[in-house]
Symmetry: C2
Amino acid sequence: MLQTIDPAPRTAFPRLGWVEDLVVPALRDAVAGLPAPESRVAGYHRGWVEADGGPVQVPRQRGKAVRPALTLLSAVAVGGEAVRALPGAVAVELVHDFTLLHDDVIDGDAQRRHRPAAWSVFGTPAAVLTGDSLLVAAVRAVSEVPESSGAAVTELLGALRQLVAGQSADVAFEGALDVSVEQYLAMAAGKTGSLMGCACALGGVLAGADRERVDGLREFGSRLGVAFQCVDDVLGIWGHSRLSGKPVGSDIAARKKSLPVVAALAGTDSAARELRSLYESPRPLDEQDVALAQELVEKSGGRQAAEDEARRQMAGALRALSCARPTANAYRQLQEIASAMVQREA
Amino acid sequence: MLQTIDPAPRTAFPRLGWVEDLVVPALRDAVAGLPAPESRVAGYHRGWVEADGGPVQVPRQRGKAVRPALTLLSAVAVGGEAVRALPGAVAVELVHDFTLLHDDVIDGDAQRRHRPAAWSVFGTPAAVLTGDSLLVAAVRAVSEVPESSGAAVTELLGALRQLVAGQSADVAFEGALDVSVEQYLAMAAGKTGSLMGCACALGGVLAGADRERVDGLREFGSRLGVAFQCVDDVLGIWGHSRLSGKPVGSDIAARKKSLPVVAALAGTDSAARELRSLYESPRPLDEQDVALAQELVEKSGGRQAAEDEARRQMAGALRALSCARPTANAYRQLQEIASAMVQREA
């Protein structure tokens, strides 16, 4: 059975108390500004309240607000004040919540952040409408910035477009066996890279950085997002439920085309062939099937390929970050966040 | 049984061929720019293609593109060129489609525009994701206007916020018996008025009109939207399925808190009491119940109240339109559209 509470930190994610001090009150304001029913669903989704709207009974592992941290640090990296980038930090976190709420409806995932997903508690209509309201609130957050609001809105809308395309591709992959590694990487760049790229770029835009630095920040975030997704895919197959908040092997049971599987299916050895016939069979995959698939993916090099890709993307991310000419201190902090994101315990 | 095809025009809606000539190609471009699966769902939803993506087999009654017409005519009304307001016209129609796709998921409505609703053909995930992609495309459409884009984006986001709040209230009404007429009107102003108000205001904004004229246009559209909703509510109870595309009395069977019902339930006569006990009973309402409820709502003055309210809102709409100082010709055309919208055959 799935363990639902995990108060222990799952990674050596750097403590950035000042980021939380800035972002959490602004996020609470934004969520409080939603209509009451959606505000409650969003508060539950974020782990601020229980399903009945009351205070949380057991302290939970809180989200690490990675994207807001990237936004504020990116602003500092180009010589700006973190507070100027706060609307961007709020916007990317609201968009992140919007995607999680709708993705859980779309994928039928009943677990999120070690709790029942919002749709399974409040119903699909409430989850859809809360996602919609968060998306609108996110765009409003950046549109209300007096200076450079046009550029910030454009940055966010561009990311949203890629994000939807990535989610669309991810859904389409479900019905397809022949997904190439290139197609997977394009999907991951949309689904995960675009918002992290936007988080970093918005920090630059709102701090008034020039285009070259903003481009560097965007590519840093985007590649970091893809690296993160590669690692997340590995955890989705071999991770512990206590850490991921999802049942072990759930990605295999759902026949997800995650990178290790895509890379393994591209092989021609006997393990790849056996895996393919398992994925092609119409019957539900039981525990033994999942264990066998884990073995086959590892044997045919799928895990190695995903880990190699994560490293490649990470190296590219850091090269791109250098192009943004960040201050030494901010570079170090961004690198620390990036490392923590891809070195999570499997 | 529900008749699914209705080639006959359902109202004397003025022919505005030039509006269609401008708007339809721009809408097709916008929909073609979505990821392929969402583009297909949106095309089906709009009646451009069948569910398999092939050409439509039977010519269908097309949408009248009321909102785009309001946008373009509003631009003309303040002395601008219609084409300058085209991004606004596209945006409001895309938002309208977004709301329909998500509303049908939220309300569980299986029929839309005389065909099975998109979610019932393609599944809830596809309908949710297509709605999301249309919403993003809508905001992008106005954000890409070089001049006055900030004001246009702000106008659209303000309307979206009210729209989500209106939808939220509409959903909340389902579980409540004591909805006042005031609460209903606030809901309708959000759910229906905000986007029509935005359609008109965007025409003014994109044509470069001053704030007073934009405010007048927004109030005209908003009140027109509420008037339209009042009439739609009457049709939802007493309209013909051939015209509305929905089963007769479906609003009653779903115990919807539409205006005639809200007004009737506010009464204290015996018809109101009988209606209340019918709405309070936990069992599903059959055909006889629906017929009885129709009679009770009419008897206790609910229908009259809704028709009076529609007239009041319409008068207010035309007063507001005068404040926008429209050209005589545009005023006449806007008035014609408005009249056609609220004088639909019951």
